[in-house]
């Protein structure tokens, strides 16, 4: 089940990448990393890809170097997550419960307050898909889906990718809509797992699977590259292997 979810999510991400984009994958993001590496190996060979967890990635400026890069408008595509994502694509990385007296105090936004505004397109991803993970309204807005009036916001949410489905951000409605359901799952199942109304669910297509070429790339060079940043993830998806 886990492997199938990873394949569906990585495939959906790979298909969303546009050739020539400057793409960054932040820390603790193995599925976006897999998706971007898959895109580069198949559809979008000309992307510029910065994988911040890759031990071989040159960087001496810490997070300031990366944040300044985004604020100069250089970042076309980025990935964010959160303990909660709500109907308006607000994300919560701050607290569960009341901010003044939290049930759980989380590490915080890690720059997402700014990056959600300045990356031209942001794909949200989540490893769990439950009504508590996707409530109507987050407990705390670390970064909002829509801009406040009069505030410059070059970028924002494009898609949400979960183990069950892909959602699309509807800019006019400022709301998330169901875009596709992964193979082996149903629209009813996805709606039951979501704490907000996904809207019109008739004629929602199945998330496209991987072509033979994409599957081979994922199991080959993508897997090899992921070892440099996410060795435990590689073991979890592909199992233990020995190297020649």
């Amino acid at each position: 089940m886990f492997r199938e979810a990873v394949v569906s999510m990585a495939g959906a991400i790979a298909r969303a990448v546009r050739d020539g984009e400057t793409v960054a994958v932040g820390t603790l993001s193995p599925i976006p990393a897999a998706g971007c590496l898959l895109a580069r190996a198949t559809r979008t060979p000309n992307i510029t890809l910065a994988m911040l967890d890759d031990k071989r990635q040159a960087s001496v400026g810490g997070s300031k170097e990366f944040f300044d890069f985004a604020q100069r408008g250089k970042l076309d595509l980025f990935f964010l997550s959160g303990i909660q994502i709500d109907a308006e694509a607000n994300i919560n990385l701050s607290v569960v419960g009341d901010y003044a007296a939290p049930k759980v105090r989380l590490p915080g936004g890690a720059g997402s307050g700014m990056l959600y505004y300045w990356a031209k397109r942001v794909i949200l991803f989540k490893h769990d898909h439950t009504p508590r993970a996707f409530p109507e309204r987050v407990d705390f807005i670390t970064s909002p889906g829509h801009p406040s009036p009069g505030v410059r916001r070059p970028g924002g949410p494009a898609l949400v990718v979960t183990p069950l489905c892909v959602m699309q951000y509807d800019r006019d409605a400022a709301r998330l809509r169901l875009a596709s359901v992964h193979p082996g799952h149903t629209v009813e199942e996805v709606q039951a797992a979501t704490g907000f109304d996904l809207g019109a669910t008739a004629d929602v297509p199945e998330t496209a699977g991987l072509s033979a070429e994409e599957q081979a790339a994922l199991d080959g060079p993508v897997r090899e590259h992921l070892l440099h940043a996410y060795p435990e993830f590689v073991t979890a998806v592909w199992g233990e292997t020995t190297h020649a």
Binding site: K55, A58, S59, G62, Y99, G150
Partner: protein, 160 residues
């Protein structure tokens, strides 16, 4: 502002006009510290310290009044970084250097010490209870004679 009363919302002196999306800006006060305690790769006796450039250690050093850097090893003269993403912090910003191999444990130090998630879980459990904390303190801080003894104690549990 609603959550942080110390954030200041003010007119932007560089705004093109009142309809400029950047007509106002929010000022956030700097975070400062009395002491920054960092772990790096190497240092020399002039206090030049090699930090992992992928981290925010340089910012932490610049945000603090007093900077202590523990390092894997002290060398005679640190002129260029010794490993990938090493970045040199001039001794003029450093107050104290201590040679502590594996001094980052249980957190990671690239090419020297892997992350010890099991130990962090043990620490978190101990930190939640006064008696458990006393036991942790005795076992890992008070009793080991020196950093080498500490490393011998914990490295048996660390995966290669």
């Amino acid at each position: 502002m609603r959550v942080r009363s110390d954030f200041v919302h003010m007119p932007n002196p560089y705004a093109a006009g009142p309809d400029d999306p950047d007509a106002t800006v929010v000022l956030v006060p700097a975070v400062t510290a009395d002491v920054a305690l960092l772990h790096g790769f190497a240092a020399d006796r002039q206090g030049t310290a090699e930090l992992d450039g992928r981290t925010d250690d340089r910012l932490a050093a610049q945000a603090a009044d007093y900077v202590i850097v523990t390092v894997e090893r002290v060398v005679d003269a640190l002129v260029t970084p010794t490993q990938r993403n090493g970045t040199l912090l001039g001794g003029w910003q450093v107050h104290a250097i201590v040679e502590v191999p594996h001094g980052s444990h249980p957190t990671a130090c690239a090419e020297h010490t892997p992350l010890d998630a099991e130990h962090i879980r043990e620490y978190l459990a101990a930190a939640a209870d006064p008696d458990a904390w006393q036991a942790y303190w005795d076992r890992y801080v008070r009793i080991p004679d020196d950093p080498a003894a500490y490393w011998d104690l914990v490295s048996g549990a660390v995966a290669a």
